[in-house]
């Protein structure tokens, strides 16, 4: 039985998310209130498209919201997303609801209203931009637990002061551990006496935004 996902609103976001979900084997239905967008969306294979206002109960009913496992509301308006998720949750008993939110101040309120997952676009995007702009040493940074914990990939250049040192000789912040070292084709979980070599790729796990201090310590920049 395929997992059924209901997407409401969102223009290009809906399109790329729908394609990605369909490729992963989900059964996807989108609701969109502009005919133009609906026509574009209907070009996607195996996608059910409903033209209508997703904040109205009968439109959700047309889209078989009662059978959906996950409902994702990503219209541009916070109030619409709230109503979509509440209707899905309380009227159609959808197990998981996800809302996109513009105003970060309302995150707690949305959770309080019973929405399972609140994605604040502004917080997420500013976070990513900050990383991209200031941390060019990191190739990948994955935030988990709403960004409280980060997993970072740090390449060690030859000029790094950490090269040749054992892990315990490096003064890393308490909230950071080196979870893994990638050396060539080898993958190893380091211990305190593991030596860091130039060209290593370290996988850091950090909390409390300590990854910047750790990266500075490791790369010397």
């Amino acid at each position: 039985m395929k997992t059924k996902v209901l997407l409401v609103g969102g223009r290009s976001k809906a399109k790329s998310l729908a394609v990605s979900l369909i490729n992963k084997g989900y059964q996807v239905t989108v609701i969109n209130d502009t005919l133009e967008d609906c026509v574009k969306l209907s070009e996607i294979d195996r996608l059910t498209v409903i033209h209508g206002d997703g904040t109205r109960p009968f439109v959700l009913e047309d889209a078989s919201a009662q059978d959906a496992d996950i409902a994702i509301a990503m219209t541009a308006k916070d109030e619409d997303n709230l109503v979509i998720c509440e209707l899905c949750k309380k009227k159609f008993q959808v197990k998981k609801t996800v809302a996109l939110l513009t105003d970060p101040k309302k995150t707690d309120f949305f959770y309080k209203m019973g929405i399972d997952s609140v994605v604040c676009a502004i917080t997420a995007i500013t976070g990513i931009i900050e990383q991209q702009a200031f941390v060019d040493k990191i190739t990948t940074l994955i935030p988990i637990g709403e960004g409280r914990v980060n997993i970072a990939e740090v390449p060690i250049p030859g000029s790094s002061p950490a090269v040749g040192k054992k892990l315990w000789e490096i003064n890393l912040p308490k909230e950071v551990i080196v979870g893994c070292i990638l050396r060539g084709d080898m993958t190893m979980v380091p211990r305190g006496d593991t030596r860091i070599l130039a060209g290593d790729m370290l996988v850091l796990i950090s909390s409390d935004k300590q990854e910047m201090a750790a990266i500075q310590e490791l790369t010397g920049r």
Binding site: T55, R56, P57, F58, K77, D78, E79, D80, L82, V83, E86, L87, K90, K91, D103, K105, K106, F109, K112, M113
Partner: protein, 156 residues
Amino acid sequence: MKIQISKQKNENYTIIIGCGRLGANLANTLSDNGEDVLIIDKNKEAFRKLSPAFGGLTLNGDATDLDILLEAQINNATTVIAVTNNDNANILVAQIAREIFHIERVIARLYDPEREYVYHEFGIDTICPAILSVKEIDKILSRPDMLKDRLQEAES
């Protein structure tokens, strides 16, 4: 001689969101009754609908923004009435008022009867113009002489 000004201290403080026809009329009426009223609207021009005698406050801003609600001193409000022309905005504001600020009386106007029915079940006081009109028209239709009576009343 002591002049005593008997100004009754009013404990009701009503915040109205949306200065449309309904919001403005409601604000005028409450203000005429001597109650403390504050009305919020995104559009400054909307406040022109208030009567010149309106004795309450106006606040220009988006009431779905928590900062604007705090500026309106929503903590001291006894009643919040959401009557913008957007159903979902009314729902959002009504739920913020109830869940975050614990306002005793929260009323939202919803145009869509179906949505009104659902949110009524969720425990928000809602009014729906369409349903109210239906009831009223039905009342008149069930008593054909009533309309005539009213017209005569108005003439005399």
